[in-house]
């Protein structure tokens, strides 16, 4: 018998009945804010079922065509394939394939009842968050009114993302799928007073007005030549609406986030020939996504790190360029500190400031029970999306400052659930549970209902329009999308993480067959211990603490436990194939994410019910 203190420190058998356990195994789905069922849609693409794949996507992320081009892709850094052979599956680009190749879908969306339920919802801003709220609430009979200050819907997707990355037709198509199903869309209608809006008798209000204020750079010379110093997001908006069509030859972009990448590439298309992105931080710490930087560099844009802006240089009130401090960084007490080494002048005809943006609510009165924190950001509950005033909900960048489209979509889903509960007088803090279904994929001897052979192919690269062609028109989309042949290869790179290795401890005879056959040394039969000790005793180093260990119940013959380190499992199914007693089975997990419209027939509902 072990001494009680030690016994208590032994790892407890993993609770696989909790839906999160197998959900976490599907790294991409777990990392996606909207929990898109990635492996399943990739499988549908592999089967040529593009429309089904699109609808499955749409159920969770609402804008597959848009997100398949410009998503921040939190799924890809999480993808297991990246741990096994360096490059993740091109999940985002495969999403675009579903949008490119889909058939008719309008008839498969959940029907919008002609008989309304009598509740009226106001959404402020026609961006991705508000559109998601509308999408989720329309099938329930709500009357949705969207107020938009611009003359076209889309929010930052239209104003801040250049057309060469996101064609306007793609954008408009997916917006129309929502707005043309009975939304009252009021364009050119900015809300100037929340108080006035609240007095109009809406049953709930959703604020999805984004983070529309670009940060400024208060250094000497900032306001001396306003025609040639621009705020990034405002400038992109003017370009999107055709108000600005040209820029000087030499352009400096200040800041190195994704907005900076859009600004520099847009400049090239408006006549600039020498564009430099000036970053304060070293290259490894820049905010822009790696792929956006790669694409900028492909267009010969120079990214210059460790240059902090000092002042604007002018002659006769005309911008000549900018002085920078060249800085060096070192770590001190866990904080990054900089010291100035030198300074340097860079000439420029135009300078674009892309150093961040924030949400701003000059139109919300501060005496209506809607609290703001010290940073002047509204207090919003992360779970319900409700503000401190009952019936007023926030989502997207308006809620917690700039995040990204896929987060805004998730906010929209949660806000829709809250609004539906709120309008029925239910407690919105009680959230509908996430459920999990498991179905065996065993078809017969040596037969499994998924493609379990490991394809050694490397990640496919999306073809781009040639450098000689792409600058001719700002509307020419640079990425051409995967070819059919590329798609065929890329789908097979997916490791099917949703086909779970499910272990039944009572059936195990401890013959070691699974352990011996596992190609990536994930399994170990071990005497139980504390986590750190156990991780050190596994067949292969289990150093990735982000990946939980699976620990079985003690086994009948020796009392040891079966331990699985999920980190590099390729879900090939050989453990189940070699198991003489079916103690291992490969089972398809289906995470059931709740939506406001649950119970209504519609997108993907067939797939959800059939348990695929």
């Amino acid at each position: 018998m072990l001494a009680p203190p030690l016994r208590e420190r032994l790892l407890k058998p993993t609770d696989v009945s909790h839906p999160d356990h197998f959900h976490r195994v599907v790294d991409c789905q777990w990392a996606c804010p909207a929990h898109t069922d990635v492996p399943e849609y990739i499988r549908l693409i592999a089967q040529g079922r593009f429309t089904d794949a699109y609808l499955l996507n749409r159920e969770s992320n609402v804008f597959p065509g848009i997100l398949g081009r410009v998503c921040d892709r939190p799924c890809e850094p999480a993808c297991r394939r990246g741990r096994v052979d360096e490059k993740p599956v091109a999940i985002c680009r495969l999403k675009r394939v579903t949008a490119d190749l889909k058939g008719e879908i309008a008839h498969r969306l959940p029907p919008v009842p002609t008989q309304k339920n009598g509740k009226r919802i106001a959404c402020i801003g026609a961006g991705c968050a508000s559109l998601t709220v509308a999408n989720d609430l329309l099938p329930l009979g709500y009357a949705i009114t969207i107020f938009e200050k611009q003359h076209e819907p889309g929010g930052l997707m239209r104003t801040n993302i250049p057309a060469f990355r996101l064609p306007t037709e793609v954008l408009s198509e997916e917006i129309h799928l929502i707005t043309e199903r009975g939304v009252e869309l009021l364009l050119n209608t900015p809300i100037t007073s929340m108080k006035a809006l609240l007095e109009r008798g809406f049953d709930a209000v959703f604020v999805g007005s984004g983070a529309p204020r670009g940060k400024n750079l208060e250094i000497p010379g900032r306001y001396s030549d306003p025609m040639h110093v621009h705020i990034g997001i405002d400038w992109l908006e003017s370009v999107a609406f055709g108000h600005i069509t040209a820029i000087g030859r030499k352009v400096l972009i200040i800041g190195a986030g994704n907005t900076a990448m859009d600004c520099c590439r847009t400049s090239l298309r408006l006549g600039a020939t020498d564009v430099k992105v000036m970053a304060r931080k070293p290259l490894t710490l820049l905010k822009a996504s790696d792929w956006e930087m790669e694409e900028a560099m492909e267009e010969s844009i120079e990214i210059i790190p460790c240059h902090a802006p000092r002042d604007f240089v002018l002659a006769d009130n005309r911008i000549q360029g900018m002085n920078f401090d060249i800085v060096e960084y070192h770590e001190q007490d866990g904080k990054l500190r900089s010291s100035t080494l030198d300074s340097s002048f860079f000439p420029a005809d135009d300078i674009i400031l892309a150093i961040g943006q924030e949400n701003a609510f000059p139109w919300i009165e501060r005496d209506i029970g809607l609290e703001f924190d010290q940073q002047d950001v509204p207090r919003v509950d992360r779970g319900t999306m409700q503000s401190t005033r009952a019936g007023v909900f926030f989502g997207g960048d308006a809620a917690f400052g700039p995040e990204n489209i896929i987060w805004a979509v998730e906010h929209g889903h949660q806000a829709a659930i809250s609004i539906h509960k709120y309008c029925r007088g239910e407690d919105i803090s009680v959230r509908p549970p996430i459920a999990m279904n498991l179905t065996s994929t065993k078809m017969g001897i040596h037969e499994w209902s998924y493609s379990n052979s490991f394809d050694t192919s490397m990640r496919r690269k999306v073809p781009h329009v040639s450098l000689t062609e792409r600058f001719k028109d700002i509307k020419i989309e640079v990425e051409m999308g995967f070819t059919p042949e590329q798609t065929r290869v890329e789908v097979e790179r997916c490791l099917n993480c949703d086909i779970q290795t499910v272990f039944f401890a009572s059936k195990c005879i401890e013959c070691d067959a699974c352990i011996d056959v596992c190609p990536t040394a994930c399994l170990t039969l071990a005497v139980n211990g504390e986590e750190d000790d156990l991780r050190g005793r596994l067949k292969a180093p289990a150093n990735n603490h982000k990946q939980l260990l699976f620990v079985s119940e003690p086994l009948t013959q020796t009392g040891r436990v079966m331990v699985k380190d999920e980190d590099q499992c390729v879900h090939c199914g050989l453990c189940a194939e070699r198991c003489p007693t079916a103690a291992w089975d490969m089972q398809k997990s289906l995470v059931k994410i709740p939506y406001a419209f649950d119970g209504q027939s519609g997108p993907g509902s067939e797939s959800r019910q059939s348990g695929r």
């Binding site: 011996d516 190609p519 040394a521 292969a540 020796t558 050989l574 003489p580």
Partner: protein
């Protein structure tokens, strides 16, 4: 049987041995034995041991006869030499090969049928000649390839899958080997790799004939309740008499020997095995005591495992026969084949 191929992908942080090879580099082709067969675990233990010893694959010769066990050589170290001999005749082939090239590592894999029935004579004589090899018997008490008849190692009273009872006394390879004078006698269990891997390493490096009897349950024909060779039965009656730690060359053994009653035995290549008694009245360097201990426990139905007897001082095959020091292929042709005049002289000596 598995039709699926083991994918080429491996764990990205798999450790490498002295040769820079990962354990995956020591695999063979995919096993076609029944799922859960003990033999596959023995294969995995062999791969593990050979990888840990950092033996170059081309210096290994794997040999076998006929039977489920004899398929094993196909499943480990793809880059090694190998031969699949006639039923029970592997010891002769191994003896011949070893006579021709003494510089290789010989690993013979056999079964209870191949060694204790049809090949018993061959087995006994290879042992008696002290051929420098690891002779590993995958022992499951049945003829699996012919659908599960009792083999010569089946225990009295053991029941076959369909209920027939065995009444003939078993041949125990351990007692037999001790009687015949083997210098290395060990028993392991396919379900206990912690014990088996060091036994295999010691057996490969032992200078002479190393017998390893490995209980390796037949999951299809002999893993039921009334079987005495099942996983459950073996685990229940397994009585390790001695624990074996393998200490590679150049590693100070003091750290391993601390405390307890430990007997270090230096092997031919400079590495050491440290034997630790589990049972107080057991002595792994005394043949008579080892014999008595194993036999006494066997009467009670217990299975004694571990490195049961070792003697590194016995002369192996080449020393006994005063052969040339290197491999025959390294001899100059004139020396290897001195011509008909010399042959005539030799023949004259016998007239």
């Amino acid at each position: 049987m598995t039709f699926m191929q083991k994918p080429k992908v491996s764990h990205s942080k798999l450790p490498r041995n002295e040769l820079g090879l990962s354990i995956r580099d020591y695999e063979g082709s995919m096993s076609t034995l029944c799922a859960g067969c003990g033999h596959d675990s023995v294969t995995a233990a062999l791969i593990q041991a050979i990888w840990e010893l950092s033996i170059e694959p081309h210096l290994i010769v794997k040999m076998s006869g006929i039977g489920c066990s004899s398929k094993t050589p196909a499943y480990f170290v793809e880059g090694a030499h190998g031969i699949n001999a006639v039923h029970g005749r592997m010891p002769s082939i191994a003896t011949g090969a070893n006579a021709a090239n003494r510089n290789l590592y010989y690993i013979g894999i056999s079964g209870d049928g191949d060694s204790l029935s049809i090949g018993l004579g061959q087995f006994a004589h290879a042992l008696r000649r002290n051929v420098n090899m690891l002779y590993l018997i995958e022992n499951n008490g049945v003829y699996g390839l012919t659908k599960g008849q009792f083999s010569a190692s089946a225990d009295v009273g053991s029941k076959a899958k369909k209920g027939a009872v065995n009444n003939q006394p078993p041949i125990d390879p351990i007692l037999l080997a001790l009687t015949l004078g083997a210098g290395f006698v060990g028993r392991g269990f396919s379900g206990d790799k912690d014990q088996l891997v060091p036994l295999i390493k010691a057996g490969i490096l032992h200078n002479g004939f190393a017998l390893l009897d490995v209980l390796s349950p037949c999951v299809t024909f002999n893993d039921h309740e009334d079987s005495t060779k099942s996983y459950a039965h073996t685990r229940r009656f397994d009585r390790p008499a001695v624990r074996t730690d393998f200490v590679p060359r150049k590693t100070p053994i003091q750290t391993v020997c601390e405390g307890g009653e430990a007997i270090p035995v230096e092997l031919h290549d400079g590495s050491t095995i440290v034997l630790r008694k589990v049972s107080k009245d057991y002595n792994p360097v005394n043949r008579d005591e080892a014999y008595r201990y194993v036999q006494e426990h066997q009467k009670g139905g217990e299975i004694v495992t571990g490195l049961l007897y070792i003697n590194e001082d016995q002369q192996e095959f080449h020393a006994l026969n005063d052969t040339v020091s290197g491999a025959l292929r390294d001899l100059p042709y004139a020396e290897l084949c001195p011509g008909s005049a010399i042959l005539e002289e030799i023949q004259h000596l016998y007239r």
